[in-house]
Symmetry: C2
Subunit: 363 residues, 2 copies
DNA sequence: CCGCTTGATGTTTACGTGAACACGTGACCT
DNA sequence: AGGTCACGTGTTCACGTAAACATCAAGCGG
């Protein structure tokens, strides 16, 4: 904190020699324009400035204009910290996630940010990067606190328990990828229903059974998709092949595809996301297994690119924007009613989008 | 000093007798535990609590333990607003962007968030969604303020001028996608060099010239890639075909590809990003134009999926993580030195990744 | 034994804002 | 006309924290 502030700005207090700032160097380097400065220039009290600033009634037009003019001249901007202190809230929602790189989370976060902004809330990202966990620990632990009124967790909540970031007690929480509907308020895509649609679509086309490439076990969404896949097959009395384990990446899908290409009776595969489906398509192409003539492939997510895969991918459409919207809606309700404890699961429906990667078997 | 405490506050708990109801931690405790509460329980002054909270010296071990115990018992968490007010800064960096959905921005934002967290700074997202601009306007204008010490702008800075979000004067700015290196501190991928590498690679393979599918005009990155493409061709004395205009989407790349497939002399295309390259591959596949035998395709970004396209995509690798890292580094330097005015452009190098989508012409 | 230093802890104060209240003025009602 | 009421504006104060200063006890050399 070296006091070498160059005083480059238009100093509001220099107009009058009222405060002998020149004689008292230890005094105040007033970098920021406060309500008091505006009030002084406008010749009113700071309370009137406050009223104008917040658009409150009780200020006559001419006075308001004077204040606004003073604000413009000084470049006044309200101090959020003081406001947050005064009001006891930050108008900010924290979003805890592993990675923005995964398809779903970035789109969900975007929707959250947009809807939150519309409600006057800002979004603070709290990334939990396993690789740099210690750094993050250092940051938020040393800082002491998250300046948020509520938190949206986009990950399996159990993973958060083992993490170094702790949820401050008393903040409201909405969880996206979790089965903790009994303890938390959960908003999520209806994973099970989406997976059911995918598998049933393949069975309806006449495939005897359906193989499955899973997502990582740490993802509850992946677990539920896998469970639903298994359930539909069992229900229909079909054999349940051993699932192939993926990690969301196209690379893992590619590896699974190379294995499946060696299984002659495999005519249909349900990949737990579109990226792995892309890897499957690639692997089958390498192994001269034609999609969909030899093998049908269904993905999950309906990314923007899926229609342009070769062949265009049949997939389950997720409405990430709606998930984000409901997250914000839920979390704001919690904040506003003060009701932290309304668990329950809010499922956003999916939609099967049939494109060119599925066909009856034995084409 | 205290004539009558009106108690008008909506006290959710603690019926009446003072705040020393420490014996009842259950139920809905008072949400705000302040240093004073901790101080009272620990039998010290609030200043001592402050010292412990900040890890300052000058507190004897036994006292420190008492304070820490009191903190734990009450679930104390420091009030960031009060801290920000006291210190005059928020330890927060704002990130202004259009969309998280584009490949680059989400990865850059993630890197920014991670590195900022490591330095004790949080990230606040400020999305500028054109469709809901009025909403965003409502939010941030009515709120009046962004609680940030600095801002990283991931968009052409001119677009911000026309937006409803205004950069508060005095905050430090780092820009990612812009040519405003004379006025702002700019960090960006070396777009021109990356594009040069792509085009030269195709020329080196023996192609007579290279077609180009551009990104949107609003993107300076897209502009620079196009300029470099043109420059390399002109420099080499090759004809410069009319560029096809895309918008980053696979769909626009697909549309361009359908047109290019009808141009027999077109043997090489440089797409301004990987998604459009995917659309090209799809279009050429539909039109039975073999890649790379008939046409070579180069993309830009090196997304995680690019190795699994059919064929695997030759593309220009962008180091988004490094861009994010340098953004944080720059913006923190500005904050710490107080030097807002150090313009200049910081370019992150690219790397050409040759895969299966390029080959000599006339295959 | 005094006075000075050192270190631990308490007290005061200000950060910028806005709710609650006080004040003053003019209009309207009886 | 007197009273009251609405309205514009000013004053006081508290929000939670931490710097600056004050206090107090113990140690220590002269």
């Amino acid at each position: 904190m070296d006091p070498d502030e160059p005083e480059g700005r238009v100093a509001p207090t220099t107009g009058g020699a009222g405060r002998d700032g020149t004689g008292v160097p230890g005094g105040r380097r007033k970098q920021r324009v406060s309500m008091a400065d505006v009030a002084e220039l406008a010749g009113v009290s700071s309370q009137t400035v406050s009223r104008v600033s917040n658009g409150r009634p009780g200020v006559i037009g001419s006075t308001r204009e004077q204040v606004l003019a003073a604000m413009r001249e000084l470049g006044y901007r309200p101090n959020s910290a003081a406001r947050a202190l005064r009001y006891g809230r930050f108008n900010t929602i924290g979003v805890i996630l592993f990675s923005l790189s995964s398809t779903g989370s970035s789109r969900t976060v975007e929707a959250i940010a947009t809807h939150a902004a519309a409600e006057g809330y800002a979004i603070t990202l709290i990334p939990i990067d396993v690789a740099t966990q210690d750094n993050v620990l250092g940051a938020f632990t040393r800082m002491g606190e998250l300046a948020v009124d509520a938190v949206i967790v986009i990950m399996e909540i159990h993973l958060l328990d083992t993490s170094t970031v702790q949820l401050p007690p008393g903040v409201h929480v909405v969880v996206v990828d979790s089965d903790a509907g009994d303890r938390y308020c959960v908003v999520d895509t209806d994973q099970a229903d989406g997976a059911r649609k995918a598998v049933r679509h393949l069975l309806d086309l006449g495939h005897r059974t359906v193989w499955h490439v899973t997502g990582p076990e740490s993802s509850y969404a992946a677990q539920r998709r896998g469970q639903a896949w298994r359930a539909v097959l069992a229900e229909a009395g079909r054999p349940v092949p051993a699932p192939l384990h993926g990690d969301w990446s196209a690379e893992s899908g590619h590896a699974a595809g190379l294995l499946l290409a060696e299984v002659p009776e495999c005519t249909a595969v349900f990949a737990a996301n579109d990226q792995m489906a892309l890897g499957l398509l690639r692997a089958f192409h390498e192994r001269r297994r034609s999609v969909p003539a030899d093998i049908s492939v269904v993905g999950f997510d309906d990314t923007a690119d899926a229609p342009f895969f070769i062949p265009p991918l049949t997939t389950v459409h997720q409405d990430f924007a709606e998930v984000g919207r409901r997250c914000v809606q839920r979390v704001l309700r919690q904040i506003r009613t003060g009701d932290d404890s309304r668990p329950g699961t809010d499922l956003v429906p999916t939609r099967l989008v049939v494109r060119g990667s599925t066909a009856p078997p034995g084409g």
